[in-house]
Symmetry: D2
Subunit: 413 residues, 4 copies
């Protein structure tokens, strides 16, 4: 278990740090102003993103998330501190570096499972930051954390597939620059449980696709990055060549997509927590109540200490997970990936709650990023399977492990 930063990581960290200081943090009020502009067309991408992307790309801070030749070629361990740093300004920095969800997962998916034509048509413009993409899996009518529940149908009809289904909370899909949806559905409901699903590419402008509305997250439309769409697919026809991988491989592809997606969320969440703690400390020093700064209140000190302790633990668990993924593969890191999915959002939510409380009314409003960050992190506790599903699965593995190696403790009372 070696979590040291190598030379390349150190170099990129330095470069990214300068970019954050010189461009990203100063762009935060710019983004706020552009979003608040009454003349703005809803769901369009505020211009500040383009400017940051150009700058980031010119500095070699581009597609850092993507392993292999198509991306920066970093390991998870190399990427971890960089992703964390982008989390400190999470509305801006990940998108600025073309490292924002859900495109990162979609690009990885296309790089790994797309055929040459699919990669040419969709991966290339995604890697160039020219378009954005969405991943359409969650459905309103069923518990989608259990993929066998999915009701969307993908049926072969000659040279085409016909897609019918109802999705929602499809992040990014309200953005008009989001051109392509990767849709999960069932090609063969009669097959065995994990061979029923397939994934298929559906361009946003295909007839029969209706983007109905933006779903909110605790009142936030997340308008800056394409929101969370409700989408109806009604007799949507796409060429058979749009199927990703072979028919019936959807479940396996989804599984492969999840590991990196989860750890990227967690890496960024650590950065969010650091930013929240920083804001909490600053506020505590500046704000005076009952004759002394909040920083002198024992309860606030307790929050600050707990926050630091939780961040340290969360970061180490993320680093271990990254290191495991790099050394034994995503499958071998299964327990740890679930562990960070359970532990990190919960820890960061707690810290954000205390940062909000330290700020009083300012904490719940639009003048600090805290409330919006809270809403995003709270949602992670149920996105991509609620915590409870992951705990159940982790517990079962732990129980099996003890069944197998129960020898050692047999002699104990």
């Amino acid at each position: 278990m070696d979590f040291s930063y190598d030379a390349r990581t150190e170099q990129l960290l330095g470069r990214l740090g300068s970019f954050m200081d010189e461009f990203v943090y100063p762009a935060e009020p710019v983004l706020a102003a552009q979003l608040a502009d009454p003349a703005r067309e809803p769901w369009t991408v505020p211009p500040v993103f383009r400017e940051l992307q150009a700058e980031a790309r010119s500095r070699g801070l581009w597609n850092l998330f993507l392993p292999g030749e198509l991306g920066a070629g970093l390991t998870n361990l190399q990427y971890a501190p960089l992703a964390e740093l982008t989390g400190r300004s999470v509305l801006l920095a990940p998108a600025a570096l073309n490292c924002a969800a859900p495109d990162t997962g979609n690009m990885e998916l296309l790089a790994q499972f797309g055929d040459e034509a699919q990669r040419k048509q969709w991966l290339e413009p995604l890697l160039a930051g020219e378009i954005r993409s969405a991943f359409a899996m969650t459905e309103p009518e069923v518990a989608s954390s259990d993929a066998t529940n999915i009701t969307t149908r993908i049926e072969r009809d000659g040279d085409e597939y016909v897609v019918n289904g109802h999705k929602w909370y499809i992040t990014g899909a309200m953005n008009p620059e989001c051109r392509i949806f990767i849709v999960m559905g069932k090609t063969d409901p009669a097959a065995e449980t994990r061979r029923q699903q397939s994934m298929i590419l559906v361009p946003r402008d295909t007839p029969g696709v209706t983007v109905k509305r933006g779903m909110t997250v605790f009142g936030y439309r997340d308008d800056d990055h394409g929101g969370h769409a409700e989408i109806v697919f009604e007799n949507v026809r796409v060429p058979a060549a749009n199927l990703i991988g072979e028919s019936g491989s959807g479940f396996a592809i989804a599984q492969a997509r999840l590991g990196p997606g989860r750890i990227h969320h967690c890496m960024r969440a650590i950065g969010i927590a650091e930013r929240a703690l920083e804001l909490m400390c600053r506020r505590a020093c500046e704000r005076v109540a009952f004759g002394k700064p909040l920083a002198a209140q024992g309860v606030v000190q307790d929050w600050i200490a707990e926050s630091r302790v939780r961040i340290e633990q969360a970061r180490l668990l993320v680093l271990k997970t990254a290191w495991l993924m790099d050394t034994v593969g995503n499958r071998g890191a299964h327990t740890e990936i679930q562990a960070i999915k359970i532990a990190v959002p919960a820890a960061v939510e707690w810290i954000l709650d205390k940062a909000v409380q330290t700020h009083g009314a300012a904490g719940v409003g639009q003048d600090t990023p805290l409330a919006q960050l809270w809403a995003g992190i709270r949602t992670l506790r149920l996105a991509d399977g609620p915590d409870e599903v992951h705990k159940r699965s982790l517990a079962r593995r732990e129980l099996r492990r003890h069944e197998r190696s129960d020898k050692r403790s047999e002699e104990v009372g």
Copy 2:
């Protein structure tokens, strides 16, 4: 300690229950549709409110909150179950009955401390539901939970007072029907700590008043009931007769306003919790994951049981507080008023969090009321003084109590 419902309470409860079933719950989707109408002018009151108010008034369900001859003349204990019931549809029912914050507190204040002219000009239309009002105390620059920090100035100049200050999170003030602000400021900064403040009536359309923007609460603008305004008062001149009570009485009036305000919030919060538990149970029964309904999952059962236990305790504490206020007065119920301020929002927040989690993505969005209710209840933990301030004060009283009667335990090891 007698919490029994008397005949009048039972009768009103029955009448209110019918009104809720026949009018309020059915109006919930109507309100949602009116708020979502793109043609709607922001901050205006959706028409459904007027219809409900007419109906409520005709049924004798009007101004129930107000003791004495001007209102329904109920005790706190009589009002408690009624307010709880309105909490089950908290966006609609309180306003429908003319029992919504902050007007309730403002009407009480005017009834108790306003002179005849003030009551005629402002209390009468408020009691008739013709206008609405706001209470302008919180300031962005200082910890307003400590009233001595307030920086707004109210200075005498001949027959007028001149108001200068900066307020925010002034609930209801974005609503164009909100015609009058009760503003807290300092008339005499040199006086002793609790005699520096006064309250003054400032009509919304007075020159120098600028309603700058609506502050958000976890992404919600709370557009249906006038939002939370940031307001600048710049050389605002009002007649000297607009001062409420005598000069220097602001602190005492604020204290008097707080008790009823807090308990009304808590009464309604119990209703919110009951509604959340109801939604949680229904969802748990309907939603199937991994082959069985969520209601069969042990963790979900744990949430449901805990929710019921917490609701029961919260309600009883609210009832005791109401009973104390009725029997020994608000001052004698000081500890209990703080206790419910600490305990009830925390309990209800916990229940809402579990209700959200049980609903998955649906829980954070606009198709259930849960996320918005959560945001409101979370904010109660810092509105009107953060929990920590109230805990500190309650602890000090407890410590003093033990100092005084330390005899009994002196002989213990």
Copy 3:
């Protein structure tokens, strides 16, 4: 819901308060000294108990727990504040008043289900405080919270029953003055689930009864009140007349015994919490660290405030439960009895933990009662069915309730 204390309660409270002040609290160091005396025979009753009992009885403070003519004839609501007050010195006061578990439950059981001979032989000396008793239900080998698991057999053989079984954590049974065991076992394992069990009276000195050892509770033997015995019953023969009620009625009798037993524990636990809070406040005022008393530390103030709030809520829930038991019967109070079983020990454990922490090393040792009280309260979370069993049951009832009356919320999103 009327929780007022009536004249009789007030009078008894006054009398009990004097008894506590004059006799019980001063007896606490006496008990400690008698228990620590190296010449003491293990498990014998320290002499101080006899003295207190004589005094209590002469003051009319005797068998207060028992409704009906045989006891003081109090309602649950009348008894609640008295039991709470005894909880303030829980090692001494309940036993001094002949109101200590498990005898209280056993006396109630005999009063309600014993025949005349059984009452004469066993109930009378118990009511007189001449002997003590134990209730033998829990078994080491099975989850006894599910009574259908019980393996002890009670088999008819002519005019006798033969008992075979293995019990443990039989509270009070190490005490040589404990003369009689009420043993739960199966008379008819083939009957339907709730008709298999019976209860039978087994005198401690019956051949075949082996009291093997005292089980500990977090290191405490609870030597002062008879500890917690492991007992083996091997071909133990008792007259057929020793069966309580009819054969197969054991489950029903056990259910009837549980309600009062649980609420008595909870009433006393409130008293324990008040005592703990008192000690916490005193220590916080006396102990100085880093230049100021602990009472000036924000975190300690937070504990004190939370303790007061939790005690208030716990007490009110206990009072409501008592009132319900008095007005609609134990069956009608089923949900509330489970609710206090879940809520009260958890709250009191939390308070004791903070009281311990405030005392530092002194909190975990023998010079304050805190650690021992903690151990007892912690054990309540698993005694008589772990919390989790009660939560499951309460949740199921809540879910059924919502299924039945789901009309109201059908129109909601």
Copy 4:
């Protein structure tokens, strides 16, 4: 940050694993029997320890805790997994390897600060496991977490020092083999705050030393390893040469002793948690309630998953701390040493509580190690300074850190 185990660690881990399997776990029931033997002289060391020590020493598993030539010469990172493994049988294994507190700290102290004579007389037999030692710092009358409060006096009188003071919770001191006390007291109360204290060697049999009684910990006397003594020092005279280091160096020596002591406790605590989780899983698989094993209950699964997640995080934080101590020194690892002091006992206490609950009555008694382990871990939350003191200190450092580098976030809203 490289936490990999090197070859030496792997080799020792293998060797220690075999020793645990072949000797230590089988010795657990032997220890229980020897402790329960009524013929046993209280406070004497049960013979099984000697046997294990002989075996451990012959296998090269001896003084592993001690860096440098006198001990095994391991780094903290090398020692961490070994200490964790001994934590799995914490009553036996650490003492078997001569790696038990408080001797480890005392040996380190003598190795680092003792002069040649002191090392010859006391360190040598300690390293050989021939005698044991105690560290006398805590006093009943003052908050000893603040060393300036200490009241014990060490006064020079000719060639001697005279010690007067009152100590308690002096771990190990009831053991007759404990021959030497390191006593903390004030030599110069008039010096500046951190130069008032000195440490001095006081043999147990010096006239004026009275070992008064064993203090309990949640009912446990901890009789197997010398308990926790209350000791009075009354005009105790020892040669001036017994002073450790120079006069006034006591505070600095105490600080130096704390870091390693804390991390050793935490390393072992991880092993305790692993053992508890193992017992919880086994119990959950074996115990059936309501028709299925506890392992199938969602709430139990939740506990198991949470336990695993917390253990992983706690271990990583301990490893990071060890690595920091090795690479930048104990002073540089100050924040992390406090962080583990705060985080690890709290996590392990939670896990033990759930393990107890899973075991029902068996969990609180003497047939599983859980209750005793709980008592020990709970006490860590207040031993050597309560958590609250450490949180306060950690928070202040965090606040200072933000004050210094507040540049980055100045531009944020």
